[in-house]
Symmetry: C2
Subunit: 253 residues, 2 copies
DNA sequence: TAGTGGTCTAGACCACTGG
DNA sequence: CAGTGGTCTAGACCACTAA
C-alpha cells in the first residue's frame, strides 16, 4: 500500500553499518589513522555498542581494521603476501631466514598429527617450534613434528631442548631426499599458547597450514603452521616470480 | 591469602565454555546429532544466551558445529578436502567436472581485479560465473575475469550471456598456452550475492582464493573463488596422490 | 588515572523452518 | 503454528594501555 520499497529482505543494521564504514574507510581515512572510540561511534550511528561492535568485528575479520585493547581502533594496512608454498619444494629450515626456531621437545603428538605421520598415537616424536616474522610483525607460529626414525643420527647433539637443538634437528632433515609435499589450508582460531606469540587474543581467526613432507616413500615430517588471518594473505606457487599485489582500494585522502 | 589458585589470567566464560563443549562434542555426540537449543544450553551452563552464542560462534568457525535458523544446531562432519591447486597447472574448465558454469557477462571488473589484469579500470572484461559442488553441497562460487584480448575469436558464439556462452568462453581459453599461475588465499566474509549460492547468511567466513593465469607473457585471466570456510579444507599440491585426510577426533559414541 | 576495547547480562523482537 | 537461531538494546564491570 503505502510502501514504495519492496524490501524483500530488511538488511540487518550491523550489515548496513559495515557498508557505510567500509566506504568511509576507503574515502576518508588513511592507513594507521585511529577511529573514534566504540561508544562515540555507536552514538553517532544511533545504535547500541554491541551492534556497532558486530560491524567492527567483520571489518577486522576482513583485515580492514585493527583493534587493540586499551589503545583503540586503527585502519589496517593492506594484508601482506606471505609465501607458504613454492614450486621447488624444500625442507623447513633450508636457507630460509623468515623462520626462527625457538625450541624443541620430544613428546607425543596430537592424534590428528600422529595419523598423518602414520605413527602410533602414543609414540614420541620430536617437536620443533618456530616463529615467523615479516615486516617487523609476527605472522605465524609453527610446530614441526618429526618421528625419531626420520633423524637417526642425533647422537652428536647434547642439548635436550632449546633453539640450538631445534636448528640441529632441522639440519638433520636436510639429509633426507624430499620426494614431495602436500599442503592444506583451513580456518581456525588461535590457541591460548600461540596467541601470545602472534600478539593476538585467544580465539582470533587464523589460517592453519598443514604440510606433509614425503621422503623415503613415507611421511617423514608434518608441520602445522598458524598464520594471522587478519594481516596475512598466503601465496602459493610462482615464488620469486611476479608477485600478486593487492591494492584493496586505491582512494585515500 | 585464602586463594590457592594463582589465576594469573581469569579465563573468559565463553572460552571455558568452548573448551567444555569441544570435549562434549568429542566424547558424547556424533556427526549430525542436534544439540539442545541455545536458551536451554545457556540455562544449563548458567550463562546468558549471548555468552553461550559466543562459544557456539567459535565452534562454528572451527567447523565443529553447523547452525541453521529455524532448525537448530547440529554437529558438523569433518571438513572436506577440496583441491584448489595442482602440480600440473590447467585452465579453468578443462575436463574438470567439479565446476558448473552458470552465467557470463561483459562488464567492468573491480579495481583490484583490473590491477591484477593490468587493464584499465574502466575497461570491459568477460566475467564468467561458476559454482562448485562437492559431496552434494555447494562449496564455492567463482568469478573468472577474462580480458577481451585473451579470447579474440568469439565471433561464432551468438548468445550474449547464459551458461552456453560461459562454456564457450572457457573453451576459448584452452587455446592459449598456460605458462604459469599464482594463487593466494585470504580470509573474507561472504557477499550477499554469494551467500545465497553457498547457502549461508551474508557475512559468513569464507576463504578467498585469487588465481592469476599467465599466458603470452602477460596475465590472461584472473579468478576469484570464494570457498565456505566452515566446511572446506583447501588442499594444494600432489593432487591425485595420497590425500591428507583429517580425522579431527576419533572418539564418537 | 582516564580512556580504550573485551566480556557479560537479561531481557526483547524478528526471520525462518517445519509440522 | 510453535520452536529455532539471528538481531538488537541499554546497561554493567573488567583488563589493558599510556600518560
Amino acid at each position: 500500500m503505502g510502501t514504495t520499497q519492496l524490501e524483500t529482505v530488511p538488511e540487518p543494521k550491523y550489515w548496513h553499518l559495515k557498508t557505510v564504514l567500509t566506504e568511509a574507510l576507503d574515502s576518508e581515512f588513511s592507513v594507521g589513522e585511529i577511529l573514534p572510540n566504540e561508544r562515540d561511534l555507536a552514538a553517532r550511528f544511533g545504535v547500541a555498542r554491541a551492534t556497532l561492535r558486530q560491524a567492527l568485528e567483520q571489518l577486522e575479520l576482513e583485515g580492514r581494521l585493527q583493534r587493540r585493547r586499551g589503545v583503540g581502533t586503527t585502519v589496517a594496512p593492506p594484508r601482506m603476501g606471505v609465501a607458504v608454498g613454492s614450486e621447488q619444494h624444500t625442507w623447513p629450515g633450508a636457507a630460509d631466514d623468515a623462520w626462527k626456531p625457538t625450541d624443541c621437545t620430544l613428546a607425543v603428538a596430537p592424534a590428528t598429527v600422529a595419523d598423518l605421520l602414520e605413527t602410533d598415537r602414543d609414540e614420541n616424536v620430536h617437536t620443533v617450534r618456530r616463529s615467523r616474522v615479516s615486516h617487523g610483525q609476527p605472522v605465524a607460529a609453527e610446530l614441526i613434528y618429526i618421528p625419531e626414525s626420520s633423524v637417526p643420527d642425533l647422537s652428536a647433539i647434547d642439548a635436550p631442548s632449546g633453539p640450538a637443538r631445534a636448528r640441529a634437528l632441522l639440519r638433520e632433515l636436510q639429509h633426507l631426499e624430499l620426494e614431495g609435499q602436500e599442503q592444506s589450508v583451513e580456518l581456525g582460531s588461535v590457541s591460548a599458547e600461540d596467541a601470545r606469540e602472534l600478539d593476538r587474543l585467544p580465539g582470533a581467526p587464523v589460517l592453519v597450514v598443514t604440510t606433509r613432507f614425503y621422503a623415503d616413500a613415507r611421511t617423514a615430517a608434518v608441520s602445522v603452521a598458524t598464520y594471522r588471518a587478519d594481516t596475512c594473505r598466503l601465496t602459493f606457487g610462482a615464488t620469486g616470480g611476479v608477485e600478486i599485489h593487492h591494492d584493496p582500494e586505491r582512494r585515500a585522502s
